[in-house]
Symmetry: none
Subunit: 289 residues, 2 copies
DNA sequence: GCAATCCTGTAACAAACATTACAGAATTTC
DNA sequence: GAAATTCTGTAATGTTTGTTACAGGATTGC
C-alpha cells in the first residue's frame, strides 16, 4: 500500500515555498476534507491564490487538482471501509483471529446498513405463492443459491434453481415474465452470463432481486431489490458469509410469512420421508424444533 | 444532533420512485463518498440521469446539490473527528433483529469454543499437496462443500467435490486410502448416506474431518477432526452460517499455508481467464485484491 | 548595484458543472 | 378506454471551476 499523502506532506514541509507551506498547513489542519472542496475554497482557507494551490499540488507530484483529489478520496474510502481501523473498538477477538473478527463484523455491518424494508419487502414477495422464484448464482455463489432454493422448496412451491451448464440457462428464460421473481447472487468478479440472464429476465417483466457485495454488481441497475453485503476480509479471498446471512434471514422471513403453509408442507415432507426410509427417525441425536 | 441522512434515506425508501430508489441504493452502497462527487458521477453509478439525481436530492429536502453535499461533508467531518461517536453505535443490535443478532452471536460463539489447534491442524493437513481432498455435504450443506471445493481448487490440486446422484458416491470410494482427506459437512437431520460414506472412507485409511452442529453428527465417532458450530436461531430452521464461517477460515488457512503456490496458481488462472475471455477484465467495478 | 531567476496574484479562457425547459413514456384516475 | 398526472431522459443554458498567460515584486548570484 502506498504511503499516506499526509505523512509525505509532513515530511516535506521544509522544501516548500512560504505560500506552499501555508497551503500544506491548511490541508494538514483539516485533512482530507480541506482538499476535497474546490481550488478556490482551499485557497481561501490557506490565504493564498488558486494558482498557488495548483503549484502546491504539482509540487506533490500530481498532474492536476483532479488527480490530487482522487488520491484523497481513495485514502478516505479506505479509511471508511477499513475494519482494521475500527476493530480496535472490539476488544474481544473471538478465537483471537482477525479473520474471524472481520467475518463477524461483516455480518454485523451488513445488516446495520441494510434497509429493513428491503428485507421484509423481498421476503414478502418471495412468500407470494402466485409467483415462481428463480435463484441464480455464479462460480462462488451458486452454493448460496442452491442453499436458499433447498430451503424455499420446503416452505413454498415453484422454486427453480438455475444451475447446470451455463449454456442451458437461456432455456430457463423461456416463459419468465411478470409472475416470476429472480434472485441473483453476484459478487466480483461479476459474471457476464449472470448479468445477461438478469437483464433478459427484467426485460421480460420479472422482478429482480440482487444480493451482492459493496461495490454493487451491474445487475443493481435493473434490480428492484438490492442487498449489498460486506465481503472484505484480511485474506486474498472475499468472504460470502454476509451474503449467506442475508439468504438465511430471507429464508426465515419467507417461512414466517407463510407460517401455516410452511408447517403443513414440513409435516407432509416428514410423512414422505418416514414412508420412504423409516430409519431416518433414528438419526435424531439432538433436539428438533 | 440532527439525524444522519443515511438513516433518513433508509427509512424513506418506500416513498421514492423507482429511479429515486436506484439513486438511494447507489448512495447507501457507498455512503457518503458517492454523494461527494459530481452529479454526473452519481448519476452514472446509480444508472439514472442527472436530473433524476437532482429530483432525488430535492425529495430529501435540499434546495440544490450543493446543500446536499454540504450535509454529507458535515456528517463526514463529524465522523472523522469523533471516533467515540463511532464506538457507541456498535452495541446496537444490527438491524434490531433478534435473528441477525443470533447469527452474529453464533459465529462469535463458534470460534470462541473451537480449539485453535483443530483449525490450524486441519488447515495444514488440507494444504498438504500430497493428499487428495474430498468434500461431501448433505441436503442443506452441499452448497458449503461446493463453495469450499471451488476455492480450494484454485490454491491446490487434487480436490474432489463428492456430488451428484447419491448412488454414484460409492464409485468415488474406490481408491480412497491413506493419502486422502475427507471433509464432511453434516448437520441434523444427519444423513445415512453421508455417515456410511465417511465410515467406509475411514475404514480404508482416509483421514476424516467433520464440520457439524453442536449435537454432533455420528460421523464424529470416526473423525480425526471435529469442528462443531452453533446453529440455533429463533426460526424453524437451523443456521449454517457458522459452518460457512469455518469453511472460510479453513480456505484462508490453506491459502496462507500455501501462500507462494497459491499465488502462482491464481496468476495462472488469471492468465487462462484473460486468454479465454478477455472481456472479464472489464467486469472489475470495484477495487480488486 | 544590476541582471537573472523565482514567486505570486490577477485576469482571461476553455471546460465542466448544476440546473432548467421540454417532450415522450408510463402510470393513475375516472 | 381515454384523459390527466407523474416520471424520466435529452438537450440547452447559465454558472462555476480548473487552468493558463502574464506581469509585478522579491530574492539570489555575480
Amino acid at each position: 500500500m502506498e504511503r499516506p499523502l499526509l505523512e509525505d506532506i509532513r515530511d516535506r514541509l521544509e522544501e516548500f515555498t512560504a505560500t506552499e507551506r501555508k497551503a500544506a498547513h491548511a490541508l494538514l489542519a483539516n485533512y482530507p476534507m480541506q482538499g476535497l472542496g474546490t481550488v478556490a475554497q482551499f485557497a481561501e482557507a490557506a490565504g493564498v491564490s488558486s494558482p498557488t494551490i495548483l503549484r502546491f499540488v504539482a509540487r506533490l507530484g500530481f498532474p492536476g487538482f483532479a488527480e490530487f483529489q482522487k488520491k484523497l478520496r481513495s485514502e478516505l474510502e479506505s479509511q471508511l471501509n477499513s475494519p482494521l481501523a475500527r476493530s480496535t473498538t472490539l476488544p474481544d477477538e473471538p478465537g483471537g483471529d482477525p479473520l474471524v473478527s472481520q467475518l463477524v463484523e461483516n455480518v454485523r455491518e451488513t445488516f446495520s446498513h441494510l434497509p429493513k424494508g428491503e428485507l421484509t419487502g423481498l421476503a414478502r414477495l418471495l412468500a407470494d405463492e402466485r409467483k415462481t422464484v428463480h435463484l441464480i448464482g455464479g462460480r462462488f455463489t451458486d452454493g448460496l443459491a442452491r442453499y436458499m432454493a433447498a430451503h424455499l422448496r420446503i416452505v413454498r412451491p415453484n422454486v427453480n434453481h438455475v444451475a447446470g451448464q451455463q449454456g442451458n440457462w437461456l432455456d430457463q428464460l423461456i416463459g419468465i415474465g411478470h409472475k416470476d421473481v429472480v434472485v441473483v447472487f453476484d459478487i466480483r468478479r461479476y459474471q457476464t452470463e449472470i448479468i445477461q440472464f438478469a437483464e433478459a429476465a427484467a426485460r421480460q417483466g420479472a422482478t429482480v432481486a440482487l444480493i451482492t457485495d459493496s461495490w454493487m454488481s451491474p445487475v443493481g441497475r435493473i434490480a428492484s431489490f438490492v442487498l449489498p453485503a460486506r465481503v472484505a476480509v484480511p485474506s486474498p479471498w472475499d468472504s460470502s458469509l454476509a451474503l449467506m446471512a442475508i439468504a438465511e434471514v430471507l429464508i426465515a422471513g419467507v417461512t414466517r410469512e407463510n407460517q401455516q403453509r410452511a408447517q403443513e408442507r414440513m409435516r407432509f415432507l416428514e410423512t414422505l420421508r418416514n414412508e420412504i426410509d423409516p430409519s431416518t427417525e433414528e438419526r435424531r441425536n439432538g433436539p428438533d424444533i
